[in-house]
């Protein structure tokens, strides 16, 4: 007979969204079960996504800085050491983060189940363990947070040897001479810029005319410029006819216009798909969308009232930061707890080289909503801190209303952008007058000064 246990809340998936949902439930005094199909908790964010790519980026930047200091140190690093160092550090960071998360779950008294969850009804879950043995769990409240994995396009045979996805690229054993990156989104742009910095000849190919099309054009222009300086190139408005290993020594990519590209390796980063195939959501009365997602309302509530879905499984924005908040808010809503104000201004951080970040309205959105906008700019190289750090690029853009008083959005490209954005986020949340950036004192020399410079730029336009 199959064992069965009852809980107040069952959370399926232990990534950022599931973890926060489970912790919120536990903190509210509920008896919580957390089901995870992998051995470790943390989800793709820890093992294949956010944490690994950011660690790789940080290590690559440090390594390149060190390699550039040849006037101080007389040495040369072997190519095989380069990749080994990158991967070893990555492994250490990932392990440490995973252990920290596991400890947090256990500290909150959450019961962990290792296995694949499958709905038996809208309140019952069968957990199939690695040994195939089932465990039955039931709860009056459930949260689906099973995340996503790389999409495998039908016409591209990913073999994890020559044609890789964003999971298998993390276990490269050497740096290839050349890499074709299919895609122009966040994952494609992040990896493309990291490998280009490490001396790999990178070509990005995508249908859009520029990478990261949803970001401010001035930001992506600076990204492209920096990418090209490291030897990378972006081929936009291209349809990929086929991509395959020639069975010999290279991957051949054929474009719709007949052009072909050759490279030693290929990274396919053409989006992600939700992990719902093992869930049997139909048994719970749910129907996946045409794109294979779980549809939810503003409270992350599915069409079955006591089942919530959070994180990548509900689609964009697919940011770890948003997923965490979705997890917390979903459980608060279900338990009728006060979850505070709905976040109005969610920042977006992209860990390309250089970093990009934005919060609030874009210039076009401001024009559409306010009938016009003023834009204040500050280049990092005009700021003392930028000079000291040797920054040759970097830009902060402030978007304000036509009176030049109300802050509507901030967009930054350059090292430190993902940290610097939070000043703008606080400004937006508190509706501060643009002049407050001029009248207040920032540490000197810091990149925070860019806010003052951009605000002065706006003030200058306002007087006209």
């Amino acid at each position: 007979m199959t064992s069965s246990s009852s809980y107040d809340l069952i959370v399926i998936g232990s990534g950022p969204a599931g973890q926060k949902a489970a912790i919120q439930g536990a903190k509210a005094g509920k008896h919580v079960a957390l089901i995870e199909q992998t051995r470790e908790v943390g989800g793709a964010c820890v093992y294949q996504g956010t944490i690994p790519s950011k660690t790789l980026r940080e290590t690559a930047l440090k390594m390149v800085q060190f390699l550039h200091a040849t006037d101080v140190f007389d040495f040369r690093m072997r190519d095989d050491l380069k990749i080994a160092s990158l991967m070893t550090r990555l492994d250490k960071v990932v392990r440490a983060h995973g252990e920290f998360m596991a400890e947090q779950i256990s500290r909150n008294g959450i019961d962990r189940f290792h296995g694949r969850a499958q709905f038996q009804s809208d309140r019952e879950i069968k957990v199939q363990g690695l040994d195939g043995k089932p465990t039955m769990l039931s709860a009056p409240l459930l949260v689906i947070a099973t995340g996503s994995r790389p999409r495998v396009p039908d016409n591209i045979p990913i073999d994890h040897e020559n044609i890789l996805d964003s999971d298998s690229i993390l276990s490269l054993v050497y740096l290839p001479k050349s890499l074709t990156v299919l895609g122009g989104g966040v994952i494609a742009s992040e990896y493309a810029s990291i490998f280009a910095l490490l001396g790999v000849q990178v070509t990005m190919i995508d249908t859009a005319d520029r990478p990261l099309k949803f970001m401010d054009k001035e930001l992506t222009d600076q990204f492209c410029e920096a990418f090209e300086k490291t030897g990378g190139s972006y081929r936009g408005q291209q349809k990929i006819q086929s991509a395959q290993w020639d069975g010999f020594s290279k991957v051949i990519t054929q474009l719709g216009n007949g052009e072909t590209f050759e490279s030693e390796k290929m990274l396919v980063a053409l989006g992600r798909v939700a992990n719902i195939e093992h869930l049997n959501v139909q048994a719970a009365g749910l129907t996946p969308t045409a794109r294979g997602l779980v549809s939810v309302n503003d409270h992350c509530q599915t069409t079955v009232n006591h089942i919530y879905a959070v994180g990548d499984v509900i689609g964009p924005p697919s940011l770890a930061s948003c997923s965490m908040e979705q997890g917390r808010r979903a459980v608060c809503h279900a338990l009728k707890l006060d979850s505070g104000d709905v976040p109005e201004h969610i920042p977006m951080g992209i860990y390309t080289i250089p970093e990009m970040s934005s919060v609030g309205l874009s210039e076009q959105e401001a024009i559409d909503q306010y009938g016009g906008a003023l834009v204040g700019r500050a280049n990092f190289q005009e700021i003392a801190r930028g000079q000291i750090s040797g920054m040759t690029n970097g830009l902060l853009k402030m978007i304000v209303d036509t009176n030049g008083e109300k802050l509507l959005g901030v967009h930054i490209v350059g090292e430190g952008a993902t940290e610097l954005i939070h000043i703008g986020q606080m400004g937006l949340l508190h509706n501060i007058h643009i002049d407050r950036f001029v009248e207040n004192i920032f540490n000197f020399p810091t990149l925070a000064e860019t806010y003052r410079v951009a605000a002065l730029d706006i003030a200058k336009q306002r007087k006209k």
């Binding site: 051995r39 294949q48 095989d80 991967m87 690695l130 195939g132 073999d159 040897e161 490269l172 069975g247």
Partner: protein, 291 residues
């Protein structure tokens, strides 16, 4: 095989040999076989980011026996081309740089180390197991969405200590005395092959992840490996699956599925089913190397 199951004379002989070889291995007082020249050069070319296929092709052409074997393998069912492969250039073009490098390396190692007069049958079985492990390793890595490139080399070399032990036993026994029983040799192999393999891998300066897989692939030790390439854990499961390829009658799917390494790789029953289904393909590929 335990020492207790041998007769007292054999037991004493085994213990004496074990003791002598352990001391020699630990004191590094051994005359280890050199990595075959061609294999060394293949490793160098594979690791050189500026190397191209012409260098590898030139290297293979210098060794007639190797060139012949490459041609034979290119024509085997596992790599069968649409039309017969008649030239080395054609086989190079058909097989590709990576497969060619792997083949050249394995063939070279096989001829250099996996040959011991008087024990051909046993050595052939070891070689068969090693090849099957390499091939299964690639499939396990692929199943795990892990880069597969390292897995083959780890697999084919993981038991390199076994033929080495046979070499060393023969070096340490009187040529006039009767040939040792395989039972005796196998007992010493079980005791010392990991240590010997580690020493050989170090002497050959094999890539660090491969050295680690050789030292730590057994069930009891794979969790001690730290390389992100996961060569040890992948090779551990590959070795178990390879045993079923070498001796199909030994296949006990339930026993393999219950191994801790399966759990540690986070393989569900359906993952294991997919791996079991590959048995015949792997078997065919192994035969193509050997026939």
């Amino acid at each position: 095989m335990s020492l207790a199951s041998t007769c007292p004379t054999e037991q004493a002989e085994i213990e004496a040999l074990l003791s002598r070889l352990t001391i020699q291995l630990e004191q590094e007082a051994l005359d280890l076989p050199l990595l075959p020249v061609v294999a060394t050069q293949v490793l160098q070319i594979s690791g050189d980011p500026n190397a191209d296929v012409t260098k590898l092709s030139a290297l293979i052409q210098q060794d007639q026996a190797l060139a012949g074997q490459i041609l034979r393998i290119a024509n085997s069912p596992a790599y069968a081309a649409r039309s017969p492969i008649v030239s080395l250039q054609q086989s190079i073009a058909w097989l590709g740089m990576n497969i060619l490098a792997s083949l050249a390396f394995t063939v070279s190692v096989q001829s250099g180390v996996f040959k011991v007069k008087g024990y051909e049958k046993e050595i052939q079985a070891l070689w068969r197991q090693a090849l099957a492990t390499g091939l299964y390793g690639k499939e396990i890595a692929r199943r795990n969405r892990h880069n597969v490139e390292n897995a083959f080399l780890c697999g084919i070399l993981h038991t390199i200590g076994k033929p080495l032990i046979i070499h060393l036993i023969l070096q340490n026994t009187d040529k006039e005395s009767p040939q040792l029983s395989w039972t005796m040799i196998d007992t010493i192999i079980q005791e010392l092959s990991i240590l010997a393999g580690g020493k050989l891998a170090e002497a050959w300066q094999l890539p660090e992840p491969v050295q680690e897989a050789i030292r730590f692939y057994p069930d009891e030790t794979y969790h001690q490996a730290t390389s992100p390439t996961k060569g040890a854990i992948i090779t551990c499961l590959a070795d178990h699956l390879a045993s079923a390829v070498v001796d199909p009658s030994s296949l006990d799917e339930a026993a393999i599925c219950a191994l801790p390494v399966v759990q540690d790789l986070n393989f569900y029953p359906e993952d294991m089913d997919a791996l079991f289904e590959l048995k015949e393909t792997i078997q065919q590929s192994v035969e193509s190397f050997l026939t």
